[in-house]
């Protein structure tokens, strides 16, 4: 049961909020990283589409290697430090085009999250990634817990 308001985020968004709010999203091959600071009672969630910015166009947070550091920086600005943060990773389902897995984007999205969190020395305390199903998640900032359901109708 969420006591505060819940904010839904779309692809390319980062949202920081505080207890007792919640942040939710729906993921296919995209990945959402949830960061939680239990001391401050604040948390953040991002939602990115592709693992790496390829050098063309804007460096938007729809790329994991842009979105994750940006989210960490924002948490630090709110008073968190890597020591007090814990991370959870969700999404990265495999997509298929014509029966074959294309480019393994879901998997690469998950790998980039693990690599960047490792660089920042932020521990991953839970994850539910990969597979064939989309996911719906709700990050409860009061308890730092993520409720997750597999999407019942999802063409991923």
């Amino acid at each position: 049961m969420i006591h505060g308001s819940s904010t839904f985020i779309h692809v390319g968004q980062i949202h920081i909020d505080q207890s007792p709010g919640a942040i939710s999203t729906v993921l296919g091959s995209c990945v959402a990283v949830c960061l939680y600071d239990s001391k401050l009672g604040i948390g953040a969630m991002n939602h990115y589409l592709l693992p790496f910015w390829n050098g063309n166009g804007l460096q938007t947070p729809k790329f994991g290697n842009i979105s994750i550091p940006k989210m960490i920086e924002q948490m630090v600005l709110h008073g968190s430090s890597a020591k007090t943060l814990e991370a959870k990773i969700f999404g990265g389902a495999s997509m298929s085009i014509g029966g074959s897995e294309a480019m393994m984007i879901g998997e690469k999205n998950v790998l980039v999250a693990r690599e960047i969190l490792k660089e920042y020395r932020i521990g991953i305390v839970a994850e539910d990634v990969g597979g064939q199903n989309g996911r719906k998640i709700q990050f409860d900032l009061e308890r730092g817990k993520v409720l997750m359901k597999y999407a019942t109708r999802c063409e991923v």
Binding site: F8, V11, L27, G28, L49, C154
Partner: protein, 138 residues
């Protein structure tokens, strides 16, 4: 062409269906329809060539405009090619045709796209109002 392309299959189907139907309907009765697919660095081009004479219009644009004079034909209202053009536009592509003495070639050009994740699911709020009953807590 061996590589796969990434596109919207429904739109692509409708584009090709309309252009092929046009070639079959308005080509010479005993003629053939030749489909050629080629790829450049940034685009894929599908050329559909039939034997016959070109559309009876003053300007090319009329062929791709709904209810434009000359666009309607013996086999329909002439909506097919205007639909194909609109769908090509939605895929950031283009459609054109060339006429020579004995053949007409319609060319559909679509940009090659990088593989992107399934954005239909990602960020969709389709499941937003479903409850989290029986959800897994992590």
């Amino acid at each position: 062409m061996e590589e796969k392309i990434i596109s919207d299959p429904k739109k692509l189907y409708l584009i090709l269906k309309n252009v092929l139907a046009n070639a079959c309907d308005y080509g010479d009765a005993n003629g053939s329809v030749q489909v050629t697919i080629s790829k450049s660095e940034s685009a894929v081009t599908i050329a559909i060539k039939n034997q016959g004479h070109g559309p009876n219009v003053e300007y090319k644009a009329q062929v791709f405009t709904r209810f434009a004079p000359g666009a309607e034909g013996e086999h329909g209202l002439g909506l097919g090619l205007s639909i194909a053009r609109e769908l090509c536009g939605l895929l950031d592509g283009s459609i054109d045709y060339e006429v020579d003495e004995t053949t007409v070639t319609f060319t559909v050009t679509l940009p090659l796209q990088e593989a992107v994740a399934d954005s239909e699911a990602c960020g969709s709020n389709e499941f937003l109002f479903e409850s989290f009953d029986d959800a897994i807590e992590l």
